[in-house]
Symmetry: D2
Subunit: 429 residues, 4 copies
């Protein structure tokens, strides 16, 4: 449960505030899609990617299914088939339309999806204005979850749009008007030491958190050191130039097999043109920014780099211990770059823990001791994915700032690269 024991029922004023946030979050999703052509909304460039219009509809289905249908008296879904088409993976709620076939749906079209959003928006406003008294608490809780869910899909939208456009030999830009990062001098990586001991990790306090961040619990952490900043593109180029992708000794076995089979020679979206390295970005093809954090690498590449560098990835507990000491700011979606940035020089302490790139940790995504999934179909939100995936921490340049926190656990399969993922080194003290 996101809020396992809220002190008191939310007042109507809280609902009013929620409605305002609801409108902001919903508008933000649509703003992200404004630069797209209608045709862009339809493409599914690989099974992990969803067409942008599917995202827009699915997040609306979430509100419809978990709030409107159960709580808004007399609510009639716009189209019964949407409950099939826009169910992502809730097996206990009907039969989801096959994920890999989302790109075969030309209908409902983009305009119809926006109509669907409008109907859901209006109905949510109606629900929040006259909520059934006995369900106010649950409504507030689920609405919060729905907003967090839509924020996750905002990041997914940017990841997927980038992947979709990058398949096209025309190499179209999502937006030509994105700001160009300021060049920064190379900075020197330093190590920051942390004393070992029994620590608490997991979500604390009243704010929202996903079930997977709970319960807060004790964990023993030995002395360790953490790098002052993420591994940069320049660092990663040194790995490549030292034969990183050709020397099996650095690699996990599954990673090495994948490198051989897929022919990986660099992070996703890198292109070599003559002697130059370019990078596909949401602003189109750009010169590789060497001081920026390396991005779009798999867990396997992160581990191989760390092995080559004589270090390792931090555990998620180590990462959280360090992050709790840092202010929660950084290069998030709001900065408008939509690309990781080089650190400004002269900063002290570990920087860029938040924003820029998700940082692969060495921890498998498994339940915390005492984990309890949400009740009902919402229990499928996180728990059923707790196998085979690795934890990433800190958010990235496509994450809404308000969505992130020190205890936030993101997770991807170790082979995946289309998320904005990089790494930071750690080592034994």
């Amino acid at each position: 449960m996101p809020n396992p024991a809220p002190a008191a029922a939310p007042a109507l004023a809280d609902l009013e505030r929620l409605l305002t946030r609801f409108r902001q979050v919903r508008a933000a999703s649509e703003a992200l899609c404004a630069p797209l052509e209608v045709e862009d909304f339809v493409i599914q460039s690989m099974p992990d990617v969803s067409p942008p219009k599917w995202h827009l509809a699915h997040v609306s289905w979430f509100f419809e299914t978990f709030l409107l249908t159960p709580f808004l008296r007399g609510y009639r879904p716009l189209e019964p088939a949407y409950d099939h088409l826009f169910n992502s993976y809730y097996q206990t709620h009907g039969t989801p339309f096959p994920r890999a076939q989302r790109g075969l749906l030309s209908r409902p079209g983009v305009a119809e999806v926006y109509s669907y959003r409008a109907q859901v928006d209006a109905a949510i406003a109606e629900l929040l204005r006259q909520p059934p008294a006995e369900h106010i608490e649950e409504i507030a809780r689920r609405l919060e979850l729905g907003l967090q869910h839509e924020q996750q899909h905002q990041e997914l939208l940017l990841m997927d749009i980038k992947h979709i456009l990058a398949q096209n030999p025309l190499q179209p830009a999502y937006r030509r008007d994105l700001p160009v990062p300021v060049a920064q001098p190379a900075s020197v990586q330093r190590w920051h030491g942390y004393p070992g001991g029994l620590r608490h990790i997991g979500h604390a306090g009243d704010g929202f958190a996903f079930d997977c961040e709970l319960p807060r619990h004790r964990v023993f952490v030995a002395d360790f050191e953490l790098a002052s900043q993420p591994v940069s593109n320049a660092d990663f180029l040194a790995f490549i130039e030292d034969g990183g992708y050709r020397r099996s000794a650095f690699w996990l076995s599954d990673g090495w097999n994948l490198v051989q089979q897929a022919g990986w020679q660099a992070p996703l979206y890198w292109q070599r043109r003559g002697g130059r390295w370019l990078e596909m970005t949401l602003a189109g093809l750009r010169e590789l920014d060497r001081q920026a954090p390396v991005c779009h690498i798999s867990f396997y590449e992160a581990e191989a780099y760390a092995a080559w560098a004589g270090a390792r990835l931090p555990s998620e507990a180590e990462w959280e211990v360090a992050a709790l000491e840092q202010p929660l700011n950084g290069n998030f979606i709001e900065s408008g770059y939509l690309q990781p940035l080089a650190a400004a020089p002269g900063l002290d302490g570990p920087v860029q823990l938040y924003g820029d790139v998700w940082e692969w940790t060495g921890s498998a995504y498994r339940p915390y001791p005492g984990f309890r999934a949400l009740e009902g179909s919402l229990g499928e939100y996180n728990g059923k994915f707790m196998c085979g995936q690795m934890v990433l921490r800190g958010g990235c340049c496509a994450t809404p700032q308000a969505h992130i926190r020190a205890s936030y656990r993101n997770f991807f399969y170790p082979a995946m690269r289309w998320q904005f993922a990089g790494l930071r080194l750690a080592r034994e003290a």
Copy 2:
């Protein structure tokens, strides 16, 4: 060569007529796409299907590549990358964009594709108004080929649109306003006998033909009998109800394996709802028309039906011998049904040889004795597909009438079902 030995060079008046036809054919393609939503233009529902906007662009690329670039002085392609994106399979002309990835291209968008068409149209008009004298003949020949090519893609467009929309659980119609066929009484199949002997098949005369219809040559045909009409849906239902899809004895080995693996139980697009059989059509879901010819079956199903019926498929020579005696008319695209129709009662002689459904023959698609492919990249048009496919004859309800003739050889792999294909029985006399 389409016209192996034209008696004289085409006069300018001929070019004028060609330009008129060019405009008609080009307009017909766009008219076919008028009912589509922008989103429909983007979908590739299986590797054999192309997105409608790809078809519209590819046929334009054909004119650009084989006419404008070589013959129109100063012609500049709109976008160099199109030569990669819209090359279908001409390996000797650059590197075609991978076929199975055509559905990953949101750009160029639909509007840009129409602009591309407009530029090509204008340039062709310019070329035909002031053709280089020494190439007039070749220009006329290639323009004719380009028009025939575009007509083939008009049928492909309808096949692909039908397949695309049929994947969607919303079961959208291409056009709700298509005419509803008139119910016909059941007709009785009769056998028509043909005496054996040495016959000529292959294209004769001055008109256009594809290289694969040439050279005209002699073939010995034994006495045979041909059914008066194609196998109907009612006939095929009897096969199904007699266990046709469950009894291996009727099937070719490859066909039986496919039936097991794919779980086929009826022709493509058939759906059973309670005790009724429905059929997805370009007008949406309709009650199965039992007297209409069975359609959307593979060669394997055609052979299994024939084995069950104690008959066989005609050879392409037998079919051509019979068709030469019939007038070239039938239910083509111009009739506006876009669906096979039941035969009107009381007709004599083999009917529906032309139009309604392509008829699978028992002949493999191989070169005629003495076959010569066109020169250069155009030689890839037909010849390289002459292995593993079977010949179909007669055109269908999605074929332009002017495109068909008795000697016309269509071909598909034996497993394919998304074309408008049925069968007619033959037997030894």
Copy 3:
């Protein structure tokens, strides 16, 4: 039916002769396996290959199923499960064990398979000594079919053994003691002309033939020319050195895709070592014999070679017309080389039509006009494979001489290479 209308019932003396032949054929299969280690009998190197012990058991199952069980009173199969394990593809007779899993069966072991053979041999002898009078004719017919079937498997055994051993980096030889071919001088290919006209092809006379060779029928053949000998390894090397495997223009579309995907650069079993070409043979790795016919090529390679050479493959009718004029002798299994041989110099007329290598024809394997399959499960013997495969003619160095004739139709998918297949050129006169 092999013998559509035998003039009279076979006398008991005929059965005696059949029994003698039965023993010879059965002994020949075992002699072929004598050089194998027990471990060799178990391997299935690709789905098309069967473990040698499976071959030995399957041909016995054929006699058991089609002769002993129906006709020998009181016959009890050695092991009921064999009817599942050793049924190759007779869907109307139980459920065949999955073909691709034949290599997972360690039991029955080699010794048990030989016991199974011995039981079948004894029972067949018993049946032939006291046959039920009313079935003598059918017994003789089926026994003949069983012997022809076992001879086919003798060739398959050699093909499969060669493939099995060739997978092994130790490159073991089947037999080190095979004779080494005598070097021959290069011979010059000449063309032999044949006048066109109406010809008869298909089996004639009283001898055995498979159902697919019938009925004898008329076919029109135009004037043509046939090469005096098969294409040699030296010829094929010239094709390779001229970029044959790198130039798409020579290839059928399916063939070109396969070349790209599989990385073919030479016939199967060829290896390049430094500047030399070696070839894996049943005698182990040997220097490529340049004057010998090229072998182990697919239909695609045969067609590509012919296109490169400005010629074509003969049709099966052309091949049969030419072969009927030649004596039926050549380099068959009995010569003991188990490898194609260079032609001796100075021979007149087309040579090597029989033996050495099966010759790919340009004809798809389809039923002859009026074809009728055998009754019952034996009807699955040939007819159900008549789609997607190409006809080869003439037998090879692994075929028993008594098994071949001018009308014999062998067939393989166009991608297959492990059979002893080469080509001979033809062209329009």
Copy 4:
């Protein structure tokens, strides 16, 4: 390193003892293979399985490569190609023969593999009698590793033999003479509580351990409870009968997909015959022993069962804490049952932690904090597999008793079922 800091160099007497153990371990492997037919040695029933003769050769290659070649002066490998064929996965030592193709090797045959073993045995004896003084310590260390490695392969041999024979419709037994377990009354599962606190886990002391069991380190464990015994077949049947394999709510997402796709309805090797449940064992098909621990289940099935039972899997730290309190005995390979046994009644405390079945834990197989792989190619032994796999603890009925200890970490992918794996429940206190 197995022995990170041995106090003193081993004396020659130690080498003598090692040689004795070497001979015992080597003989034990051969004894395990004695019941096999030659044909059984060749089969690879899935890519994870290796042919028994490959195991016998590979463990010999390990001694040859890591002991004989570096340390025995003048040692000449029997056959240079074995270094390719019998290298399992050491990428930094040459190129391993592709794993999935091990079943294509008929040569070297079984007799040659035994000769290879004999040569290696003789050479090891020679090495140990006159070891180069400066390498005695490393030799002892590597020999110990080689023996532990061969013991691992003894268990793999039994797993693989069981899988190989189980594919065969004849359902052959490995040994008909295995003892039949004594029927036991149903026992009641109890919970045993463990107080939380900071604990040490990982290998301690002088004995051998694999690198992955090190370093010993502190971990915080909260209060927990552990079931008195593994989940039984009767327990698991209740899960099945309650729709366990049909209700998605119990399953991890990847597990549910696999259940759907593979059609799992029970543990591997279970067969339903009428109303009875049978189980394929190394003694052949037997009635399911309901009181015995459930075996041959994947991690997904273990997690689904635990979710259904309202409990969870223990972490590997919890398991180790509990196991350290128990005597190291149980039903290992030496008991001769080669099948998990029901617990004897009336035992107190958690029983069967050791032996019977490997117990899936909830812990991903990742390096311990401060982990260091061995130097050189031996560093590939464990470290490179530390991703995507789950830890199992305690050994099983096919594990040599001397091979196991409380800190022993086994690991398999979550989908794997052919190892002897079951589960024990845990829960929060």
